[in-house]
Structures are given as C-alpha cells and as structure tokens.
C-alpha cells in the first residue's frame, strides 16, 4: 500500500488545541470568541500582521494595532451597531509585492454565530465601530453581501457552550495554511489560505482563499468555494471548484468513486484536486491544491491513514490532510 507523496513539509505544532467550554449551560459566545481569537492569533503567529482592528470597547483604528488582545475583545453586533473587526495582512501571499488583506467583521444580528470575511490585494482602509473597513477590489469570501454562519452551527441555534478542538497546519515555507476545528466528531469550519500548486503561468495571483463550514464534496466539489484573484484582461476575482477523480453514474462527479472503500482491498483512494474556474473571463483549470485529497464519502472525521502505525494522514470531513504521524486527530 503506497501512501501519497506529500509535496510540502508541514508544521503540525498547531494541531489538537483544546478549547474548553465556559461553564455548563453557558452560551456559546465564549467558545466562538475563543475560536475566532485563536484564528487571529494563529495567523499572527504565522507571520500575518495586523493592519487595524476594532474591539468590544468600540476602540478602533487602521493603525497596525491589535486590539483583539483576548477573546473578550471580540464583540458581535449588526450593521449600524458597534461590532468588532480586524484586518490582517499576509505579505507576498501571491508573489512578490502581492500582499493579501483578510478582514473579519463580527457583523451579525444573530450575534456570535455569524459574520463576514473579506479579502483584497489592496489595503483595507476606514472602518469604525459601526462600519467595516473597505478596500478597492475587495471580495467577500464568507457570506454574500451580508452575514453568514462561520461554523456549521446554525446562526439561530440555541445550543450551549461546548468543548471543541482547534487545528492549524501550515507548510514550513509559509505558503499553505489551513485552520479548522472539530466538535462532536464533525467539522466546525475550515479556513484555507494557500498558494496553488502548478499554477498556469498566466495566473497573476495564484493564491486561493476559502472559508467553509464543512470539508465535503458538497462544499468544494459541487460549489466553487475557493476565491482567487487574477489581474489579466478582465481583472477580478474568480471562484474555483475542487475537481477530483470521478465519473457520472448518478448525480455527482464523486459518485461511484467516492462512496465506498475499494471492494478488493478495502482501501481508500486519495483523489488529487485540481482548481477549475467557470467565472466569465477566467474560465479554465488553473492549478492544483497542495497535499489535499478527496476521500470516499463514507469516511469519518478522525479516521487516519494508514491503517496501522502512525497517522500520516487524517480524514477531516471527506478529505485527507497530512498529519504529524504521532497524534490522532481530536474530534470529541
């Protein structure tokens, strides 16, 4: 049984971080604050810089100051009411001088279960306690013109605070970064910020961003969940599908390949992933993902590969990621 060849060298120091619930019966606010604060802290730890921020106290500025000092500094509200935000910058994300700004806005009438995430290759400016920063050529990657749930927990859910696990992996060259969380055996969200593998040479900004609330065929293969910019003639953003091995036997490309283990050896096929756009003016297959594979849909989050010995890969949703070969993926 040959394992897939891993292209990148990975830093697994951010996996299996336990986020404990506040108290029995408490609201989920504490957990959600911790999660978003951990995302910010992880990105900063990976070299992203803070361009500006706004905290619970309504103090804000696009001045390079990180006002999300603790998770308590995160405040959700809707539209004209005070709400927090932060702008992070990844220098040279898509190549020399192509810096990516990521803006997280805690905008939601439902509180902490929803928000908005925007990206831009020009700097975000402005922003107050009641208005988000904006940037020329910005693109919303979570939500469509409004707030959206940023985890797989419904924005109107009334569940109480819960324990969960936070996982962050990045390639040691800083080019590929993934952050996801697990809860009760499922995926809470996945933030993917990564350079494309083998991009077509004409693609000016070969870097993709996605924020999804599951890691499934439905999220990435049936929907163009990755966003990327290209400055060619019709400059702008394109959405990209994650294409993988399949054949049409029923409704989806994955059907037939992916629903089951191989009947002969019981093993799972790791499907490489291509990035394909149907955006007008940007159509075509433009690259691949590094070290990310589709799996049979029957897998369970937390399963690992190979079947014996160290877990070199883990199943997260319906996909496989490289893993540290030491620790199982914590999910419950």
């Amino acid at each position: 049984m040959a394992l897939p060849a891993v292209t990148k060298v990975w830093d697994f120091s951010g996996i299996n971080q336990r986020l404990k619930r506040q108290a029995t019966g408490a609201t989920t606010l504490n957990t959600f604050r911790q999660l978003l604060w951990k995302i910010k802290s992880t990105l900063v730890g990976w070299g992203w810089t803070v361009r500006g921020s706004c905290n619970t106290a309504g103090v804000y500025g696009m001045d390079g100051v990180d006002r999300w000092i603790t998770s308590a500094d995160l405040n959700w509200s809707s539209w004209s009411s005070p709400s927090g935000w932060i702008v992070l910058t990844k220098a040279n994300a898509a190549g020399a001088g192509k810096n990516l700004d990521l803006m997280i806005w805690l905008d939601s009438p439902f509180g902490h279960t929803a928000g908005q995430v925007w990206v831009s290759y020009s700097a975000f400016t402005g922003g107050t306690t009641s208005a988000r920063p904006t940037a020329a050529g910005e693109k919303q990657v979570l939500g469509t013109g409004s707030y959206a749930p940023w985890t797989n927990i419904s924005i109107s859910a009334t569940i109480t605070d819960f324990n969960c696990w936070f996982h962050a992996i990045q390639s040691t060259d800083n080019e590929v970064q993934r952050i996801f969380a697990t809860y009760n055996g499922t995926i809470l969200f996945n933030l993917s910020l990564e350079k494309a593998q083998n991009p077509v040479s004409a693609w000016t900004h070969p870097f993709v961003c996605a924020w999804t609330t599951e890691i499934t065929y439905a999220a990435y293969n049936d929907v163009a969940a990755f966003w990327a910019y290209d400055a060619n003639a019709t400059a702008g953003w394109m959405s990209l599908y994650a294409a993988t091995a399949g054949a049409k036997s029923l409704a989806h490309g994955e059907t037939g390949m992916a629903t089951m283990s191989n009947s002969i050896d019981g093993a799972h096929f790791f499907g490489d992933i291509g990035l394909v756009s149907e955006t007008t003016g940007k159509k075509g297959r433009h690259g691949q993902l590094y070290d990310w594979w589709f799996l049979p849909t029957a897998v369970l989050t937390g399963d690992s590969y190979p079947s014996t010995g160290a877990p070199q890969f883990i199943a997260a949703g319906q996909c496989a990621f490289p893993w540290d070969s030491i620790n199982p993926l914590r999910t419950v």
């Binding site: 049984m1 040959a2 394992l3 897939p4 060849a5 083998n198 077509v200 040479s201 004409a202 293969n221 049936d222 290209d230 599908y241 294409a243 993988t244 091995a245 399949g246 054949a247 049409k248 036997s249 409704a251 989806h252 490309g253 059907t255 037939g256 390949m257 629903t259 089951m260 283990s261 191989n262 009947s263 002969i264 050896d265 019981g266 093993a267 799972h268 096929f269 790791f270 490489d272 291509g274 394909v276 149907e278 003016g281 940007k282 159509k283 075509g284 297959r285 433009h286 691949q288 897998v299 369970l300 937390g302 399963d303 690992s304 590969y305 190979p306 079947s307 014996t308 199943a315 999910t331």
Partner: protein, 366 residues
C-alpha cells in the same frame, strides 16, 4: 510548449484505409477480416479458429480466416465462423473470441466479441461456439450474444483503422472510422490496469465501444464511457467500470464543463482517465477505483473536429470523439472521409497524471 510525458512507448499504425466496395454487406465482411488481421499484428496470436467448414482444436494455432469467403454468419444451429486469439502479455492466458453468430440476428453487421481473462476458450465446432467459464461479452447484447461493434452499416462505406500497441505489449487499441461520416464509430481496447488495488487477480480492462445501425455521432463519447459503465473488468467475476476523469466536479468531467479554451492560457483542458467500478448495488460485483489507463485523456466537448492533433508543433496526440490518444507526430489523421490537418493546443502542465498507487487502508479513530 511541454506536453504530457507518455507513460508508454507506442507503435502507432494510422490511417489503414479500405475503400468501400459499394455494397454494405461486403464492407462489413471486409472490416471483420481486417479486424482479425489487425489483432494478429498487435501482439495477439491465433489460438484456433473456424472457417464455417473446418473448425480447429484448442491451441492448434491455425488461421482459417484467409479471406472473407471464410466468414459465415448464422443465427441457428447451422454453420458459422469464429476465431480465438491469445495474448500472454495482457494476461497470462488472456484470450479473445470473435464469432459470426447471434441467436437473434445472423447479420454480417454483427459480431460477438468476448474475452476470457484467464480460463481460456475451449470447444467449438462448425455449428457451436467456443466457450470459456470466465467469458465476458463486450459487444452489444446480453451475455454470449453478438451485436454492433462498429458501423454504421446501414450504408456502403469504407473504413479506416487506427491502431496502437505499447512496445511492452500491455496495451492494445483500435479505433475505426467510416467514410459514412467523419466520426470514429468503433473502439476496441484491451490493457493492463495501471495502479490497480492490491489483490486484483486479473488486473486488466476490456472495452468495445460500438456503433449501431444508424448512429452517426461516434461512440467514444462521455455518454458512452464516462456516464455509462461500459468498460469491463474481471476479478473472480465480471464487473463494469466507468471510464472516469481524474478531474471531475459538480456533475461531470472537466472536459464536459469546460467547453472552451482556458481564458488565461488559450489552451484546451485534458484529463487523464481513471477506471471506476460503481456501487456494488449497481451492475457490478466490484466497487471503487480499479486503476488507471496510461496515455489516454478525456478532451473538452468544445473540440469537435475529429482527428484534431495536439499540439500544433508536435502533433503527438489526436482527438477521436471525446478521447485523446497518442499520435505519431507526422501523419494527418484520416477521419474516414478525409485527412484532417486541424491542430490545437492543450494545457499540459496541469492534468493530474496517475501518480502511483494511492489506495490507502484506513484506520478508525485512534
């Protein structure tokens, strides 16, 4: 522009043209005889055969199909012709039976093409067909039946054979074009599974994509092979596979959804093939990815000129329907009606090529 690196070295015999006789039935007989001769030139040897008047015995090695006069069709208990071929490279005892027989129709336009992955054909006489315990019927119809294998035969037409055999003998392909139109109307393909799962007893695939009486659109299409499970395999029992694409999304292959050149590069997409057996509940006694096929790619449906070669400079690949095959880099492909000089450029840098065995056993939560 770099192009995909072939995984095999190929001996390609393009454009073997037989003009129409002016009589459809004669053309069909000529095509049948030519099919026999082609297989003998592609690494197959004669097992034994029957000319309708003389039936051989297992492994006598005698070719009794010298001319079309030796080809007799029947639909009853009467005399008929048949031919057993052997190939010890695709399988240690891989055999192919071609029989001019059908219980439903003795038409010269029908053939029965069966394979025996390992058991081998035995028996047969001038009035009975050889049989094999592991026989798989490739042509249209139910098990053991005959059916269409190329065409259309409704009109008199010449035909053009294009053949491929890898230098290691593991892969044999035949594409048949007809002067009745400009489409490839038949495909016969045998080969070893590339990167099969461990434990596959007879890791090979067998396919015949066939035309019908009046079909004019060719039969190497997504509809025939990607969307339908028409490629056969055998592992203690026959099973069917889709000719999948390494890159598929939403509801189809990249070539079905990307029907124009890449906006950023100006190149057409191609995708290597992967063989996928559908659910155990459907059609098959096996399921999952069974392996890959080297040097065969799905094309974009936006490419519509049969015989288009890729790329413009090297012409090292050729389009037949929705599939792309290796080409000799020199010859203008003949689509059955005329030579084709159209060229196009495909995007070579991105196809996800077969990357080796990636079947990985799973462990439940640790």
């Amino acid at each position: 522009m770099p192009l995909p690196v072939f995984q095999k070295t190929w001996t390609i015999t393009p454009n073997d043209i037989t003009a129409t006789s002016g009589v459809a039935a004669t053309d069909a007989k000529n095509a049948t005889l030519k099919l026999k001769n082609k297989l003998l030139g592609l690494g197959f040897t004669t097992g034994y055969s029957c000319s309708s008047t003389v039936a051989g015995t297992v492994n006598d090695g005698v070719d009794r199909w010298a001319t079309t006069a030796n080809l007799v069709w029947n639909s009853t208990t009467g005399v008929r012709s048949w031919y057993v071929f052997k190939n010890t490279t695709i399988g240690s005892n891989f055999q192919v039976l071609i029989k001019c027989y059908s219980t439903t129709n003795a038409s010269v336009y029908y053939l029965g093409i069966e394979v025996s992955p390992s058991a081998g054909f035995t028996g047969g006489s001038t009035t009975t067909n050889p049989t094999a315990t592991d026989a798989i019927t490739l042509t249209q119809g139910t098990t053991g039946e005959s059916g269409w294998w190329s065409g259309p035969w409704s009109v008199a037409a010449g035909f053009t054979f294009h053949t491929w055999v890898s230098t290691d003998g593991e892969h044999v392909r035949i594409v048949i074009c007809t002067s009745a139109n400009t489409k490839p109307m038949g495909l016969i393909m045998f080969g070893k599974l590339y990167n099969p799962p461990d434990g596959h007893a007879t890791p090979a695939f067998y396919a015949s994509a066939y035309s019908s009486w009046t079909e004019t659109n060719g039969y190497l299409r997504y509809a025939d092979l990607y969307e339908a499970a028409n490629v056969h395999g055998y592992n203690g029992g026959g099973y069917l596979m889709h000719l999948g694409a390494h890159e598929s999304y939403v509801d189809g292959a990249i070539g079905e959804r990307q029907v124009a050149v890449n906006d950023l590069t100006g190149y057409w997409p191609i995708s290597p093939c992967v063989l996928i057996a559908p659910s155990l509940l459907l059609l098959s006694n096996q399921s999952g990815v069974m392996g890959e096929i080297p040097d065969l790619w799905w094309a974009s449906t936006g490419l519509t000129v049969e015989g288009t070669t890729f790329d413009t400079a090297t012409r090292q690949m050729v389009l037949w329907n929705n599939l792309i095959f290796p080409w000799d880099g020199v010859t203008n492909p003949h689509n059955g009606s005329a030579e084709v000089t159209t060229t196009a450029d495909v995007d070579p840098t991105l196809p996800i090529s077969p990357a080796g065995n990636r079947f990985v056993p799973i462990s439940d939560d640790l």
